[in-house]
Protein backbone atom coordinates (compact mmCIF):
# COMPACT_ATOMS: atom_id res chain seq x y z
CA UNK A 1 0.00 0.00 0.00
CA UNK A 2 1.12 3.53 -0.71
CA UNK A 3 0.99 5.71 2.37
CA UNK A 4 -1.67 8.31 3.07
CA UNK A 5 -3.17 10.09 6.02
CA UNK A 6 -6.36 8.87 7.66
CA UNK A 7 -8.63 11.46 9.23
CA UNK A 8 -11.79 10.69 11.20
CA UNK A 9 -14.15 13.66 11.25
CA UNK A 10 -17.16 13.57 13.55
CA UNK A 11 -19.49 15.70 11.42
CA UNK A 12 -20.51 15.83 7.76
CA UNK A 13 -19.19 19.41 7.48
CA UNK A 14 -15.75 18.40 8.74
CA UNK A 15 -15.75 15.47 6.33
CA UNK A 16 -16.63 17.73 3.38
CA UNK A 17 -13.86 20.10 4.30
CA UNK A 18 -11.36 17.20 4.48
CA UNK A 19 -12.62 15.83 1.15
CA UNK A 20 -12.08 19.17 -0.55
CA UNK A 21 -8.30 18.61 -0.33
CA UNK A 22 -6.62 17.34 -3.47
CA UNK A 23 -6.70 13.55 -3.88
CA UNK A 24 -8.74 13.00 -0.74
CA UNK A 25 -11.02 9.97 -0.81
CA UNK A 26 -13.95 8.98 1.41
CA UNK A 27 -13.60 5.72 3.36
CA UNK A 28 -16.80 3.92 4.36
CA UNK A 29 -16.34 0.49 5.93
CA UNK A 30 -13.32 -0.15 3.73
CA UNK A 31 -14.30 -3.68 2.77
CA UNK A 32 -13.73 -2.90 -0.92
CA UNK A 33 -11.47 0.14 -0.72
CA UNK A 34 -8.83 -1.35 1.57
CA UNK A 35 -8.23 -4.42 -0.67
CA UNK A 36 -8.11 -1.96 -3.62
CA UNK A 37 -5.48 0.14 -1.85
CA UNK A 38 -3.44 -2.97 -1.08
CA UNK A 39 -3.30 -3.68 -4.80
CA UNK A 40 -2.17 -0.11 -5.41
CA UNK A 41 -5.16 0.50 -7.64
CA UNK A 42 -5.88 3.80 -5.88
CA UNK A 43 -3.49 6.43 -4.59
CA UNK A 44 -5.27 8.94 -2.34
CA UNK A 45 -3.24 11.36 -0.24
CA UNK A 46 -5.88 11.43 2.50
CA UNK A 47 -8.59 8.97 3.45
CA UNK A 48 -11.57 10.57 5.13
CA UNK A 49 -13.14 7.89 7.32
CA UNK A 50 -16.90 8.36 7.68
CA UNK A 51 -17.14 5.87 10.55
CA UNK A 52 -16.95 8.51 13.26
CA UNK A 53 -19.96 10.52 12.09
CA UNK A 54 -22.81 9.49 14.38
CA UNK A 55 -25.46 11.44 12.46
CA UNK A 56 -24.87 9.13 9.47
CA UNK A 57 -25.61 5.94 11.40
CA UNK A 58 -28.83 4.13 12.20
CA UNK A 59 -32.14 3.06 10.73
CA UNK A 60 -35.58 4.58 11.14
CA UNK A 61 -39.00 3.55 9.85
CA UNK A 62 -41.53 6.29 9.31
CA UNK A 63 -44.73 6.36 7.25
CA UNK A 64 -43.80 3.49 4.96
CA UNK A 65 -40.29 4.76 4.28
CA UNK A 66 -37.13 3.28 5.77
CA UNK A 67 -34.26 5.71 6.19
CA UNK A 68 -30.81 4.19 6.55
CA UNK A 69 -27.85 6.38 7.50
CA UNK A 70 -25.06 6.23 4.92
CA UNK A 71 -22.51 4.91 7.42
CA UNK A 72 -24.77 2.15 8.76
CA UNK A 73 -23.18 -1.32 8.56
CA UNK A 74 -25.01 -4.17 6.81
CA UNK A 75 -25.40 -6.16 10.04
CA UNK A 76 -27.28 -3.28 11.67
CA UNK A 77 -29.63 -2.96 8.69
CA UNK A 78 -30.25 -6.73 8.73
CA UNK A 79 -31.28 -6.56 12.37
CA UNK A 80 -33.26 -3.31 12.31
CA UNK A 81 -35.50 -3.95 9.28
CA UNK A 82 -36.20 -7.66 9.88
CA UNK A 83 -39.89 -6.93 10.58
CA UNK A 84 -40.47 -3.79 8.54
CA UNK A 85 -38.82 -4.95 5.30
CA UNK A 86 -37.77 -8.64 5.43
CA UNK A 87 -36.43 -8.74 1.84
CA UNK A 88 -34.03 -5.90 2.60
CA UNK A 89 -32.98 -7.59 5.86
CA UNK A 90 -32.34 -10.79 3.91
CA UNK A 91 -30.21 -8.89 1.39
CA UNK A 92 -28.19 -7.06 4.06
CA UNK A 93 -27.78 -10.22 6.14
CA UNK A 94 -26.21 -12.18 3.30
CA UNK A 95 -23.62 -9.73 1.98
CA UNK A 96 -20.10 -11.16 2.33
CA UNK A 97 -19.67 -12.81 5.73
CA UNK A 98 -20.46 -11.75 9.31
CA UNK A 99 -17.21 -9.81 9.85
CA UNK A 100 -17.62 -7.96 6.56
CA UNK A 101 -21.23 -7.10 7.43
CA UNK A 102 -20.06 -5.47 10.67
CA UNK A 103 -17.85 -3.04 8.74
CA UNK A 104 -19.28 -2.56 5.25
CA UNK A 105 -21.86 0.20 4.87
CA UNK A 106 -24.82 0.96 2.60
CA UNK A 107 -23.32 4.30 1.58
CA UNK A 108 -20.03 2.66 0.66
CA UNK A 109 -21.77 0.01 -1.42
CA UNK A 110 -23.92 2.51 -3.31
CA UNK A 111 -21.05 4.94 -3.87
CA UNK A 112 -18.88 2.15 -5.29
CA UNK A 113 -21.70 0.69 -7.45
CA UNK A 114 -19.97 -2.61 -8.07
CA UNK A 115 -21.88 -4.34 -10.89
CA UNK A 116 -22.28 -7.44 -8.70
CA UNK A 117 -23.05 -5.78 -5.37
CA UNK A 118 -26.37 -6.46 -3.65
CA UNK A 119 -27.47 -3.03 -2.39
CA UNK A 120 -27.76 -1.26 -5.76
CA UNK A 121 -30.56 -3.68 -6.70
CA UNK A 122 -32.53 -2.84 -3.55
CA UNK A 123 -32.12 0.89 -4.12
CA UNK A 124 -33.18 0.67 -7.75
CA UNK A 125 -36.09 -1.74 -7.21
CA UNK A 126 -37.57 0.34 -4.42
CA UNK A 127 -37.10 3.61 -6.27
CA UNK A 128 -35.02 4.78 -3.32
CA UNK A 129 -33.83 8.32 -2.81
CA UNK A 130 -30.08 8.73 -2.33
CA UNK A 131 -29.63 11.65 0.05
CA UNK A 132 -26.27 13.40 -0.05
CA UNK A 133 -24.85 16.43 1.74
CA UNK A 134 -26.00 18.54 -1.21
CA UNK A 135 -29.17 17.05 -2.73
CA UNK A 136 -31.57 14.15 -3.14
CA UNK A 137 -31.02 11.84 -6.11
CA UNK A 138 -33.65 9.39 -7.40
CA UNK A 139 -32.26 5.87 -7.81
CA UNK A 140 -33.30 5.91 -11.49
CA UNK A 141 -30.91 8.84 -12.05
CA UNK A 142 -28.22 7.70 -9.64
CA UNK A 143 -26.81 4.52 -11.21
CA UNK A 144 -24.91 5.44 -14.37
CA UNK A 145 -23.01 2.28 -15.28
CA UNK A 146 -20.38 -0.01 -13.82
CA UNK A 147 -18.68 1.73 -10.86
CA UNK A 148 -20.26 5.01 -12.03
CA UNK A 149 -22.83 7.09 -10.19
CA UNK A 150 -24.32 10.57 -10.20
CA UNK A 151 -22.18 11.55 -7.20
CA UNK A 152 -19.90 14.52 -7.67
CA UNK A 153 -16.32 14.61 -6.44
CA UNK A 154 -16.31 14.88 -2.65
CA UNK A 155 -20.10 14.33 -2.34
CA UNK A 156 -21.16 12.09 0.56
CA UNK A 157 -24.19 9.79 0.81
CA UNK A 158 -25.61 10.79 4.17
CA UNK A 159 -28.69 8.55 4.04
CA UNK A 160 -30.85 6.40 1.79
CA UNK A 161 -34.65 6.48 1.85
CA UNK A 162 -36.36 3.28 0.70
CA UNK A 163 -40.16 3.13 0.29
CA UNK A 164 -41.40 -0.15 1.82
CA UNK A 165 -43.12 -2.31 -0.83
CA UNK A 166 -46.34 -4.31 -0.39
CA UNK A 167 -44.40 -7.41 -1.32
CA UNK A 168 -40.74 -7.97 -2.10
CA UNK A 169 -38.04 -10.60 -2.49
CA UNK A 170 -34.31 -10.64 -3.08
CA UNK A 171 -32.99 -13.75 -4.76
CA UNK A 172 -29.22 -14.01 -5.00
CA UNK A 173 -27.49 -16.65 -7.05
CA UNK A 174 -24.24 -16.51 -5.17
CA UNK A 175 -20.78 -16.82 -6.65
CA UNK A 176 -19.55 -19.07 -3.85
CA UNK A 177 -15.94 -17.85 -3.64
CA UNK A 178 -16.58 -14.11 -3.56
CA UNK A 179 -20.15 -14.28 -2.24
CA UNK A 180 -21.06 -11.48 -4.62
CA UNK A 181 -24.14 -12.18 -6.73
CA UNK A 182 -23.51 -13.99 -10.00
CA UNK A 183 -27.00 -12.66 -10.61
CA UNK A 184 -29.30 -11.08 -8.05
CA UNK A 185 -32.92 -10.05 -8.51
CA UNK A 186 -34.68 -7.53 -6.29
CA UNK A 187 -38.42 -7.56 -6.89
CA UNK A 188 -40.65 -4.93 -5.29
CA UNK A 189 -44.43 -4.68 -5.70
CA UNK A 190 -46.12 -1.35 -4.98
CA UNK A 191 -49.72 -0.22 -5.37
CA UNK A 192 -48.77 1.56 -8.61
CA UNK A 193 -46.69 -1.22 -10.15
CA UNK A 194 -43.88 -3.71 -9.89
CA UNK A 195 -40.15 -2.96 -10.16
CA UNK A 196 -37.52 -5.58 -10.97
CA UNK A 197 -33.84 -4.69 -10.54
CA UNK A 198 -31.06 -6.97 -11.71
CA UNK A 199 -27.51 -6.96 -10.33
CA UNK A 200 -24.49 -9.07 -11.25
CA UNK A 201 -25.54 -9.55 -14.87
CA UNK A 202 -24.95 -6.47 -16.99
CA UNK A 203 -21.73 -4.86 -18.12
CA UNK A 204 -23.48 -1.58 -17.38
CA UNK A 205 -24.20 -2.40 -13.73
CA UNK A 206 -27.58 -2.68 -12.06
CA UNK A 207 -30.61 -2.27 -14.35
CA UNK A 208 -34.39 -2.61 -14.40
CA UNK A 209 -35.92 -5.39 -16.48
CA UNK A 210 -38.68 -3.36 -18.11
CA UNK A 211 -40.52 -6.26 -19.81
CA UNK A 212 -40.86 -8.16 -16.56
CA UNK A 213 -42.03 -5.04 -14.75
CA UNK A 214 -44.78 -4.47 -17.33
CA UNK A 215 -45.88 -8.10 -17.30
CA UNK A 216 -45.89 -8.34 -13.51
CA UNK A 217 -47.67 -5.02 -13.06
CA UNK A 218 -50.51 -6.41 -15.21
CA UNK A 219 -50.46 -9.89 -13.70
CA UNK A 220 -48.35 -10.62 -10.60
CA UNK A 221 -47.72 -14.30 -11.24
CA UNK A 222 -44.94 -16.70 -12.16
CA UNK A 223 -46.82 -17.42 -15.38
CA UNK A 224 -46.50 -13.78 -16.42
CA UNK A 225 -42.70 -14.08 -16.32
CA UNK A 226 -42.77 -17.52 -17.94
CA UNK A 227 -44.29 -15.94 -21.06
CA UNK A 228 -41.35 -13.54 -21.51
CA UNK A 229 -38.09 -14.11 -23.37
CA UNK A 230 -35.03 -13.76 -21.15
CA UNK A 231 -33.19 -10.47 -21.78
CA UNK A 232 -30.37 -10.62 -24.31
CA UNK A 233 -27.08 -11.98 -22.99
CA UNK A 234 -25.03 -10.05 -25.53
CA UNK A 235 -24.16 -7.18 -23.22
CA UNK A 236 -23.96 -9.24 -20.06
CA UNK A 237 -20.89 -10.06 -18.02
CA UNK A 238 -19.11 -13.09 -19.41
CA UNK A 239 -16.37 -14.60 -17.25
CA UNK A 240 -15.11 -17.94 -15.98
CA UNK A 241 -18.07 -18.15 -13.60
CA UNK A 242 -20.71 -17.89 -16.31
CA UNK A 243 -21.34 -16.67 -19.83
CA UNK A 244 -23.55 -13.73 -20.71
CA UNK A 245 -26.23 -16.11 -21.98
CA UNK A 246 -26.10 -18.09 -18.74
CA UNK A 247 -26.57 -14.91 -16.74
CA UNK A 248 -29.47 -13.89 -19.00
CA UNK A 249 -31.08 -17.26 -18.34
CA UNK A 250 -30.60 -16.75 -14.61
CA UNK A 251 -32.31 -13.34 -14.78
CA UNK A 252 -35.54 -14.98 -15.92
CA UNK A 253 -35.24 -18.05 -13.69
CA UNK A 254 -34.54 -15.97 -10.58
CA UNK A 255 -37.29 -13.47 -11.36
CA UNK A 256 -39.80 -16.35 -11.39
CA UNK A 257 -38.41 -17.51 -8.07
CA UNK A 258 -38.68 -13.98 -6.68
CA UNK A 259 -42.36 -13.75 -7.67
CA UNK A 260 -43.05 -17.11 -6.03
CA UNK A 261 -41.25 -16.11 -2.82
CA UNK A 262 -42.36 -12.47 -2.58
CA UNK A 263 -43.91 -11.66 0.77
Amino acid sequence: MYNFDVVRPTSVDEALSALSQEDAQALGGGQTLIPTLKQRLAMPTTLVSLSGIDSMKGVSVDGGVITVGGATPHAVVAGEVADAFPALAHLAGNIGDPAVRNRGTIGGSLANNDPSACYPSAALATGATIVTNAREIAADDYFQGMFTTALDEGEIITSVKLPVPEKAAYIKFEQPASRFSLVGIFLAKYADGVRVAVTGASNNGVFRWAEAEAALSADFSVAAVEGLSAPSGDDMISDLHGSGDYRAHLVKALTKKAVAQAS
Partner: protein, 161 residues
Protein backbone atom coordinates in the same frame (compact mmCIF):
# COMPACT_ATOMS: atom_id res chain seq x y z
CA UNK B 1 2.34 9.40 11.98
CA UNK B 2 -0.62 9.91 14.23
CA UNK B 3 -1.38 8.75 17.72
CA UNK B 4 -4.03 6.12 18.36
CA UNK B 5 -5.40 4.97 21.68
CA UNK B 6 -7.64 1.99 22.25
CA UNK B 7 -8.48 -0.70 24.76
CA UNK B 8 -7.10 -4.11 23.85
CA UNK B 9 -8.18 -7.09 25.95
CA UNK B 10 -9.19 -4.74 28.74
CA UNK B 11 -5.92 -2.80 28.80
CA UNK B 12 -5.51 0.79 27.60
CA UNK B 13 -2.85 1.01 24.89
CA UNK B 14 -1.60 3.69 22.54
CA UNK B 15 0.94 4.09 19.80
CA UNK B 16 2.03 6.12 16.81
CA UNK B 17 0.89 4.72 13.47
CA UNK B 18 1.13 5.66 9.82
CA UNK B 19 -2.12 6.16 7.94
CA UNK B 20 -1.74 2.88 6.10
CA UNK B 21 -0.98 0.81 9.21
CA UNK B 22 -3.52 -1.98 9.35
CA UNK B 23 -5.06 -2.80 12.70
CA UNK B 24 -3.58 -6.30 12.49
CA UNK B 25 -0.11 -4.81 12.00
CA UNK B 26 -0.57 -2.59 15.04
CA UNK B 27 -1.70 -5.58 17.13
CA UNK B 28 1.04 -7.94 15.98
CA UNK B 29 4.03 -5.68 15.44
CA UNK B 30 3.53 -2.84 17.90
CA UNK B 31 1.70 -4.65 20.69
CA UNK B 32 3.35 -8.02 19.94
CA UNK B 33 -0.02 -9.77 20.19
CA UNK B 34 0.79 -12.36 17.54
CA UNK B 35 -2.19 -14.61 18.26
CA UNK B 36 -4.13 -12.79 15.56
CA UNK B 37 -2.88 -14.32 12.32
CA UNK B 38 -2.58 -12.94 8.81
CA UNK B 39 -3.51 -15.60 6.30
CA UNK B 40 -4.61 -14.10 3.00
CA UNK B 41 -4.35 -10.37 3.75
CA UNK B 42 -7.33 -9.91 1.40
CA UNK B 43 -10.18 -10.22 3.95
CA UNK B 44 -11.23 -13.62 2.70
CA UNK B 45 -9.73 -16.18 5.09
CA UNK B 46 -10.74 -14.78 8.48
CA UNK B 47 -7.55 -15.81 10.35
CA UNK B 48 -7.26 -12.19 11.54
CA UNK B 49 -10.79 -12.00 12.98
CA UNK B 50 -10.99 -9.94 16.16
CA UNK B 51 -13.80 -8.10 17.96
CA UNK B 52 -14.21 -4.34 17.63
CA UNK B 53 -16.65 -2.97 20.21
CA UNK B 54 -18.02 -6.48 20.59
CA UNK B 55 -18.52 -7.17 16.87
CA UNK B 56 -16.34 -9.39 14.71
CA UNK B 57 -14.14 -7.71 12.12
CA UNK B 58 -11.18 -8.64 9.96
CA UNK B 59 -8.16 -6.85 11.37
CA UNK B 60 -6.42 -6.95 7.98
CA UNK B 61 -9.20 -4.88 6.45
CA UNK B 62 -9.31 -2.03 8.89
CA UNK B 63 -6.78 0.67 9.63
CA UNK B 64 -5.38 1.12 13.12
CA UNK B 65 -6.51 4.75 12.89
CA UNK B 66 -10.12 3.57 12.47
CA UNK B 67 -9.87 1.73 15.79
CA UNK B 68 -8.96 4.88 17.72
CA UNK B 69 -11.09 4.86 20.86
CA UNK B 70 -12.41 1.34 20.23
CA UNK B 71 -12.61 -1.63 22.54
CA UNK B 72 -10.70 -4.49 20.89
CA UNK B 73 -10.64 -8.15 21.88
CA UNK B 74 -8.15 -10.58 20.35
CA UNK B 75 -7.71 -14.29 20.92
CA UNK B 76 -5.26 -13.45 23.71
CA UNK B 77 -8.22 -11.99 25.58
CA UNK B 78 -10.36 -15.11 25.32
CA UNK B 79 -8.96 -17.27 28.13
CA UNK B 80 -10.55 -17.17 31.58
CA UNK B 81 -9.12 -14.77 34.16
CA UNK B 82 -7.15 -17.60 35.82
CA UNK B 83 -5.49 -18.48 32.52
CA UNK B 84 -7.53 -21.62 31.88
CA UNK B 85 -9.12 -22.09 28.47
CA UNK B 86 -12.53 -20.56 27.84
CA UNK B 87 -15.48 -22.83 27.09
CA UNK B 88 -15.04 -22.29 23.33
CA UNK B 89 -11.27 -22.85 23.40
CA UNK B 90 -11.69 -25.98 25.53
CA UNK B 91 -14.31 -27.30 23.12
CA UNK B 92 -11.90 -26.85 20.20
CA UNK B 93 -9.36 -28.94 22.11
CA UNK B 94 -11.86 -31.58 23.22
CA UNK B 95 -13.33 -32.05 19.75
CA UNK B 96 -10.12 -31.72 17.74
CA UNK B 97 -11.38 -28.52 16.14
CA UNK B 98 -7.95 -27.75 14.76
CA UNK B 99 -5.09 -29.44 13.01
CA UNK B 100 -2.35 -26.97 12.04
CA UNK B 101 -4.01 -24.27 14.13
CA UNK B 102 -3.39 -21.37 11.79
CA UNK B 103 -7.07 -20.49 11.32
CA UNK B 104 -7.96 -21.23 14.95
CA UNK B 105 -7.67 -17.72 16.42
CA UNK B 106 -10.12 -16.46 13.81
CA UNK B 107 -12.38 -19.46 14.26
CA UNK B 108 -12.51 -18.92 18.03
CA UNK B 109 -13.30 -15.20 17.63
CA UNK B 110 -16.01 -15.89 15.06
CA UNK B 111 -17.47 -18.65 17.23
CA UNK B 112 -17.60 -16.26 20.18
CA UNK B 113 -19.38 -13.65 18.05
CA UNK B 114 -21.88 -16.25 16.86
CA UNK B 115 -22.70 -17.59 20.32
CA UNK B 116 -23.18 -14.05 21.61
CA UNK B 117 -25.78 -13.39 18.88
CA UNK B 118 -27.26 -16.86 18.83
CA UNK B 119 -26.55 -18.94 21.96
CA UNK B 120 -28.03 -22.19 20.56
CA UNK B 121 -27.28 -22.23 16.83
CA UNK B 122 -28.22 -25.12 14.59
CA UNK B 123 -25.49 -26.92 12.67
CA UNK B 124 -26.59 -25.10 9.49
CA UNK B 125 -26.42 -21.73 11.26
CA UNK B 126 -22.88 -22.49 12.49
CA UNK B 127 -21.75 -23.44 8.99
CA UNK B 128 -23.34 -20.32 7.48
CA UNK B 129 -21.70 -18.09 10.09
CA UNK B 130 -18.28 -19.57 9.33
CA UNK B 131 -18.46 -18.48 5.68
CA UNK B 132 -15.75 -15.89 6.22
CA UNK B 133 -13.33 -18.24 7.99
CA UNK B 134 -11.35 -20.66 5.87
CA UNK B 135 -9.73 -23.82 7.24
CA UNK B 136 -7.67 -25.97 4.88
CA UNK B 137 -7.03 -28.87 7.29
CA UNK B 138 -10.10 -30.04 9.10
CA UNK B 139 -12.88 -30.04 6.55
CA UNK B 140 -14.78 -28.00 9.18
CA UNK B 141 -16.63 -30.97 10.77
CA UNK B 142 -14.85 -30.81 14.09
CA UNK B 143 -14.87 -27.03 14.16
CA UNK B 144 -18.64 -27.09 13.79
CA UNK B 145 -18.84 -29.81 16.41
CA UNK B 146 -16.69 -27.82 18.83
CA UNK B 147 -18.86 -24.72 18.45
CA UNK B 148 -22.04 -26.75 18.92
CA UNK B 149 -20.53 -28.34 22.02
CA UNK B 150 -19.46 -24.94 23.36
CA UNK B 151 -23.09 -23.85 23.06
CA UNK B 152 -24.01 -26.66 25.41
CA UNK B 153 -25.72 -28.84 22.81
CA UNK B 154 -25.38 -32.58 22.41
CA UNK B 155 -22.99 -33.26 19.56
CA UNK B 156 -22.90 -37.03 19.62
CA UNK B 157 -24.92 -37.20 16.39
CA UNK B 158 -22.78 -34.69 14.44
CA UNK B 159 -20.08 -35.92 12.06
CA UNK B 160 -17.29 -38.23 13.16
CA UNK B 161 -14.45 -37.33 15.49
Amino acid sequence: MSKVSMTVNGKAVSGDVKGNTLLVEFLREDLRLTGTHVGCDTSQCGACTIHVNGKSAKACTMFAAEADGADITTVEGMANADGSLSVIQQAFQDHHGLQCGFCTPGMVMTAAALLKENPKPTEAEVRHYLEGNICRCTGYHNIVKAIMAASGQDVSAIAAE
